[in-house]
Amino acid sequence: MKHLDEYRDVALVRGVLADLHRRVTRPWVIMEICGGQTHSIVRHGLDQLLPDAIELVHGPGCPVCVTSLELIDKALAIAERPEVIFTSYGDMLRVPGSGRDLFAVRAAGGDVRVVYSPLDAVRLARENPDRQVVFFAIGFETTAPANGMSVLQAKALGLQNYSVLVSHVCVPPAMHAILGSPLNRVQAFLAAGHVCTVMGYWEYEPIARRYQVPIVVTGFEPLDLIQGIRLAVEQLENGRADVENAYSRVVTREGNPAAQQVIAQVLEVCDRNWRGIGRIQASGWKLRPEFAEFDAELRFEVQGLHSEESPLCIAGQILQGLRRPGDCSAFGQACTPEHPLGATMVSSEGACAAYYRYGRSSGRAGAEEARGTGEMDEG
């Protein structure tokens, strides 16, 4: 496929990797923010081809993983109501709430449906005027334009049976939280390419300056990722801390103005609880008051919930780059994708799920044996 195969060219990836190996003179810790990048790195075996001095730690950019337990419990309570068709991106269905998930609600008779786009949920509302259609509007800056447009579209169509359970989170406040922690180890970031497609990367310039960390906007294919890491290392080795764009075929500094305009029209900044991490000030978006009629939290009063996390799960520390999936006593034992204790084992973007699926029992174990056996030539 055009615009895909070129970035999986084995010879080119190996060539850029060789250049990266020559540049590294000492250990560096680099965080890829986005869970999609985590999966691509582990799937293609890139983590095992890097110089030993480069440690990649996996960031919190997995929307399914950081959606708060309280909101998941709220979703479960709304989904089991008989008048409701509860719609969601597929990843959310197996995320454990306090003791059960959306699949369990469906098995018990709840009408829970997976949609590909929030516009599918709007269509369901139109086709089922006697039912209440609720969409679980989760995600980072990447899903906000879609989720926001679904509300505008429902309003334009005069729908009174569509609402959204909003759980939006934003990348820059999470970076502040990670960099401001006394436990922080991250020295450079790969910024999430598709978040930047929407928002641009001007927001990251003050972060790079304030904390003196290089930030490289990076894509998702093997060549994109290796080049992103190479540019980050080049900056680290030269003592620079700039924002660079290694994904310029898609991302501009300003981002997508039409998408930003809809976000600003429908959503406003709010504090958010990040699952496993805790409350981060001004780290998310909620519906603006003028769209209150579409707010599922107001439409369905849910009370008396008592949310409780598994005591074994260390997802919060994994999402902050402090520990690795293999450090968890439950990994692959009490916690598997079929029976996840925490959200990082569920999502296609969760670090634990990536390690489980691609056979990484812990950090760099087996890296030497596996070197060169990655799947770069797959696509």
């Binding site: 060789a18 899903t143 310029s248």
Partner: protein, 86 residues
């Protein structure tokens, strides 16, 4: 969720007031909302995310990036070759 794949726009139309398109993802056809890429034309490649095109791919930037990377690899190879003969 974030692994948006580029698709080629094969058709553009309006439905319920929204600009929509049909895109070809390596042989798989899917619909996406094009409201955030008003400049889109049939034949353009777009990055699509949960049913919405978030941006069009810049052919010029793609070529420039690949050219830069090829130069890095060629330069390194020539340096390595020079080292061997020296």
């Amino acid at each position: 969720m974030c692994l948006a794949v580029p698709g080629k726009i094969t058709e553009i139309y309006v439905r319920d007031g929204l600009t929509m398109g049909r895109l070809d993802f390596g042989g798989v056809a899917r619909e996406a909302c094009l409201t955030y890429v008003p400049e889109a034309r049939v034949g353009d490649y777009a990055i699509v995310h949960v049913g919405f095109a978030l941006n069009l791919l810049s052919e010029a930037e793609a070529q420039a990036t690949l050219e830069t990377l090829r130069q890095i690899v060629d330069f390194d190879a020539s340096q390595a070759g020079a080292g061997e003969t020296a």
